[in-house]
């Protein structure tokens, strides 16, 4: 029987590979949408590759998270790194979902508007960056070192909000989501 640890390695590699591809494609799409470096003709390819890879990475992430929890020694989240991984991973999923839902709503025209193309490429790159930092934390937790250690990120500091503040942020987000669903006059 394959252990949770082995499955975690497989699912993590799937997720990270997909996100790394998405990151490169979002960078290319951002450059191409601005017409820089004569890459404008690659916009359609980069756009499709970026969003497809991001969606694939998003699908692989729950498997990586579930197997990671299964293979982790001890009960629950009992280490600052694990809490930070969970918070950062959630932020990454949220940002990636926002990027994908925006692409679904606006279609390829998301790249037509000047601010739209900036936000879309930056949003995609941001989601990828957050996932890479999350993965780096996993390396620090299991092996005691990772490639991003050069940045000296404060992994041991847990920015935990009080429950009421989390609920307020959640409520605000839900209210905004509901309001956004109402069509705005053109």
């Amino acid at each position: 029987m394959v252990s949770a640890g082995t499955l975690h390695v497989i699912s993590t590699e799937l997720a990270i590979g997909a996100y790394a591809t998405a990151g490169l494609a979002f960078l290319l799409a951002g450059v191409a949408s601005h017409g820089w470096l004569r890459t404008g003709r690659h916009l359609k390819t980069a756009d499709l590759a970026a969003h497809f890879a991001l969606a694939f990475g998003l699908l692989a992430m729950p498997f990586a998270m579930a197997t990671g929890i299964s293979s982790s020694p001890g009960d629950g989240v009992d280490h600052p790194l694990l809490i930070n991984k969970m918070l950062l991973g959630s932020a990454a999923i949220g940002l990636a979902l926002g990027v994908l839902l925006t692409r679904r709503r606006l279609g390829a025209q998301v790249w037509d508007d000047a601010w739209g193309r900036r936000w879309q490429s930056l949003g995609g790159l941001g989601a990828v960056g957050l996932v890479l930092i999350t993965a780096s934390m996993g390396g620090t937790y299991t092996r005691g070192e990772s490639l991003l250690d050069v940045l000296s990120l404060p992994y041991d500091v847990v920015p935990l909000m009080p429950m009421w503040l989390s609920l307020a942020v959640l409520g605000l987000a839900v209210v905004n989501l509901v309001l956004m669903r109402k069509p705005r006059a053109a």
């Binding site: 029987m1 499955l7 498997f63 009960d75 991973g89 940002l95 979902l97 926002g98 942020v169 959640l170």
Partner: protein, 323 residues
């Protein structure tokens, strides 16, 4: 809807194997019965026989209510690539109600810094023998048996659980305490855990004791002496220096009085970094809040009215030509 159902089913099937494995990363120390219902391997029928040999060593005669030690040695250690090995101290191997506590023993400490009958140790690759020691308080007068067993996985990582048990139990006779025997009082409970960087003051409560000699050592290291100070009414205090690393410090006392001098077993004191605790519900709620906040914030940034689908956005030629 049908597609969503298929995706959910496939996801559940893909995730099922990870939860079905026999806890290859262990379950942590605890108080468990022989077949560890709820511990490492749920179903005894799945177990394979371990090739390891398990032996116990203990004094054959001990005194009621006094401390004694038992060591369990596992030879020909076999385990997973992570080296995880689970070791049990048991009163029988029936699989139910067979912890030492069920026979009246009290586990005071074990060499891994806990006070449970099941401990998980990590045996480095290539090491073929490992010993775990327990310090027990003897039960009522009588004759008792103690067993030991091991649970582990296999190097090839196939997930099969292995179970091994001591070939023969060790038999112990518990006798009444002689009247003038220098001893620790029945209610004395030694500390088993302490925080890194903090010295530990131990307060001994004794009976029929005129003088106390204290010895301590870092597990396996040189034996040092500590000075015990009388604290009135048969009590004595002494200090164990702070440790800067998470190590096990062992200590014992020689008790002198009118009766024959007694020496307690080595008692383990584990130093640990102050544990990290957090309200998990708060963390989970914040995670979900961050997920929603990041998603909605980004969608709000990109909030524009999409053009009607039936209106072509880009025409191949200027309007004048098309017109």
């Amino acid at each position: 809807m049908k597609r969503i159902l298929v995706v959910i089913m496939v996801s559940a099937l893909l995730m099922a194997p990870s939860f079905g494995a026999a806890n290859p990363n262990g379950v942590g120390d605890g108080t468990f019965d022989a077949q560890c219902g709820g511990a490492c391997h749920g179903d005894a029928d799945m177990n394979r026989t371990s090739a390891s040999t398990v032996t116990l060593e203990m004094a054959s005669v001990v005194y009621e209510g006094l401390l004694t030690s038992v060591s369990v040695t596992v030879t020909d250690v076999q385990t997973t690539s992570s080296g995880m090995l689970g070791v049990f101290l048991l009163s029988d191997v029936s699989g139910s109600g067979d912890t030492p506590q069920d026979d009246g023993w009290t586990i005071v400490s074990n060499s891994e810094g806990g006070s449970q009958n099941y401990v998980e140790v990590v045996v480095p690759s290539g090491v073929m023998q490992h010993t775990v020691e327990w310090t027990l308080r003897a039960p009522a007068v009588g004759t008792y048996d103690l067993h030991a067993s091991v649970h582990h996985g296999a190097e090839d990582g196939n997930g099969a659980p292995f179970f091994g048990v001591s070939a023969a139990p060790i038999s112990v006779e518990v006798q009444p305490v002689p009247v003038d025997l220098p001893r620790l009082s029945d209610g004395f409970q030694p500390p088993v855990l302490r925080t890194l960087g903090e010295a530990t003051t131990v307060r001994l409560t004794t009976t029929s004791v005129d003088d106390v000699q204290v010895e301590w050592r870092v597990a396996g290291g040189t034996v040092q002496s500590a000075t015990a100070t009388p604290d009135g009414d048969g009590a004595w205090t002494f200090d164990i220096p702070a440790s800067l690393e998470p190590v096990v410090v062992e200590w014992r006392v020689h008790l002198e009085g009118d009766g024959p001098t007694q020496t307690t077993p080595w008692l383990a004191l584990q130093s640990e970094a102050s544990s990290f605790t957090v309200d998990e519900t708060t963390a989970y709620v914040q995670s979900f809040a961050m997920l929603m906040a990041f998603m909605v914030a980004f969608m709000a940034l990109q909030r524009r009215v999409p053009p009607p689908i039936d209106q072509p956005k880009i025409l191949p030629f200027p309007d004048e030509v098309m017109g």
